[in-house]
């Protein structure tokens, strides 16, 4: 915790509280970092906005990059789609330095995008956004019967689970038999 706090002060020296006091002194610009997703489109994000992500915040707190270095080395997130990353960056910018509201209605309604967003947010460790997304997922089944829930969340039935378990056991047995046969061949 202390390391992240130190990192914040080093990465973002321009505190909004100090700026009005030193009107004569030249304003220290806010530091920016660069991220890109699968589509290689680079997004410029302020250190203040990136504080929401525990992963990125932990990375930048120990780097001490200058502006040029940051520009030259954007953080690559190859497992996140470009539009999803854009969504996350927009959310971080919107909620920069603000207390997070109890509910956020600007999340995507499409289930496919929401799934990718949840994975991205979980990877980037943005706690508040993850809670909103999880709440959105939970709201999908409000007032639904177990059958409908099973359909929406693609949950296999007991019979399907049992069949999958049997198959997994068979496969494991075959693999084990193959391994023992291979070991016996080696011994010979």
């Amino acid at each position: 915790m202390s390391s992240t706090e130190q990192g914040t002060s080093s990465a973002a020296p321009a505190e909004p509280t100090t700026a009005p006091e030193s009107a004569a002194a030249p304003e220290v610009p806010e530091s920016f970092y660069y991220v890109h997703g699968k589509d290689k489109v680079v997004h410029k994000v302020s250190a203040g906005a990136l504080q929401h992500s525990a992963l990125i915040h932990g990375m930048i707190s120990n780097l001490g990059y200058t502006e040029e270095q940051a520009k030259a080395n954007p953080f690559p997130f190859e497992n996140i789609d470009g539009d999803i990353l854009q969504m996350v960056v927009d959310w971080c910018n919107q909620h920069k330095g603000k207390p997070t509201p109890p509910e956020d209605t600007n999340l995507p309604k499409q289930k496919e995008k929401l799934f990718d967003l949840v994975l991205a947010v979980n990877y980037l460790e943005i706690k508040e956004l993850l809670t909103y997304c999880c709440k959105q997922v939970a709201m999908m089944v409000k007032g639904k019967s177990p059958e409908e829930i099973r359909e929406i969340w693609m949950i296999p039935t007991d019979a399907e689970d049992e069949a999958a378990e049997k198959e997994a056991k068979k496969r494991a047995g075959k693999e084990a038999a193959g391994e023992t046969a291979a070991a016996a061949g080696d011994a010979k």
């Binding site: 997922v137 829930i149 929406i152």
Partner: protein
């Protein structure tokens, strides 16, 4: 206009489009989410959704159990013609959250059942259940048994603290409360608070209830049972309130050894001499745990008879009774007396005038240093 639209088939097309949109369920692969995220989703669901989700498959039941086993809910049960289970989050009432309500009704006749509303619950296959306006309605031919199974299932899934029971004895199945009481007595931590109402219960049933029900803290009776009397009153409750006292006797009052606070309303058949006798017995050591007794005779009484032969010291604090004009209501006032064991007791005679109804009462407080 509407005719033209009908002729052109516009309405039909719109209806079909709406129907398609309604039934085009967008799927979300929940099981492909990382474990911790999936558990967060489950924890953010309401108890009704958690329950419904746990009914999807055995695997999901295990997942739910693992995810919400540390989440605590307070349970309020209402038992009568219909059983209602309300679950409140444990943080209630500091943070007001909506309660989850399960209502269990008796399924009458061969009502046509849509299999889409069938739910599996424990050993009871295919319960008819329907979610409507944030309440889950369940119907079964034996609604009491299904309530037991439902509570057991909820206790299995999450941490439940049984807080309150309201029993409407006149509406209970066959007017027989015994299976219900037997079930409630089986909870290891006991039921904290119970409200019992009933006007038409048989005396036998009432005696049985009084003698067997093990409520741990607060017990309130509301009922007008004429001619009902009980000899032995082995109550476990520490906070007892009886609204109609046709069946209470002076002996019953003096048997309340565990009771700490006690309220007796409509005590018309308790004479002033009876109150004097009870007071004398309290002074000599009866009701050893009693701290506050509140008698509402519902009639005028004679203070001199109630305090007869007991040395009393008049309460001279204006603060306590300053709101009562002493000139108009002479009976109002407080007195102190000493108990045989050296403790101090107080008796207050007061009047509350609300909505044109005068309520006269007697409050007895015993200042017990150990309590």
């Amino acid at each position: 206009m509407s005719k033209n639209a009908q002729e052109n088939g516009t309405i039909e097309r719109i209806k079909e489009a709406v129907k398609e949109e309604k039934y085009a369920i967008e799927k979300f692969p929940l099981l492909e989410l990382p474990d911790l995220v999936r558990e967060t989703v489950i924890r953010l669901m309401d108890p009704i959704e958690i329950f419904d989700f746990s009914q999807c498959s055995k695997r999901m039941r295990r997942t739910v159990k693992r995810s919400v086993r540390h989440k605590t809910y307070h349970l309020y049960l209402q038992a009568g013609k219909m059983y209602q289970i309300a679950l409140y989050p444990a943080i209630y009432p500091e943070k007001k959250e909506k309660q989850a309500i399960f209502r269990v009704r008796k399924l009458n006749g061969d009502a046509r059942r849509d299999p889409i509303y069938d739910r599996n619950l424990g050993n009871f296959q295919k319960i008819h259940g329907r979610f409507q306006e944030s309440v889950l309605y369940l119907c079964h031919k034996s609604h009491f048994e299904i309530t037991m199974a439902l509570v057991a299932e909820l206790m299995n899934l999450m941490t439940i603290k049984f807080h309150q029971v309201r029993m409407f004895l006149d509406a209970v199945e066959n007017r027989d409360h015994r299976p219900l009481v037997e079930w409630l007595n089986g909870f290891p931590d006991g039921i904290k608070s119970t409200h019992i109402s009933g006007d038409l219960v048989s005396n036998e049933n009432m005696v049985d209830l009084m003698q067997t029900y093990q409520c741990s803290q607060t017990l309130r009776f509301f009922g007008r049972l004429d001619g009902f009397k009980i000899d032995h009153l082995p109550l476990k409750a520490t906070d007892l309130s009886i609204a109609h006292t046709h069946w209470m006797t002076v002996d019953n009052v003096l048997q309340l050894d565990n009771v700490i606070t006690f309220r007796l309303e409509n005590a018309r058949h308790f004479s002033d001499t009876d109150f004097n006798f009870i007071l004398k017995r309290i002074i000599s050591g009866a009701l050893p745990k009693m701290v506050l007794a509140h008698f509402i005779p519902g009639r005028t009484y004679n203070r001199a008879v109630i305090c007869q032969d007991i040395p009393m010291v008049r309460e001279n604090s204006d603060r306590v009774f300053s709101r009562f004009p002493k000139v108009q209501i002479e009976d109002v006032g407080g007195f102190h007396f000493n108990l045989d064991n050296g403790d101090l007791g107080s008796i207050f005679f007061y009047t509350n005038v609300r909505a044109g109804m005068t309520l006269k009462g007697i409050g007895v407080i015993v200042w017990r240093p150990d309590a």
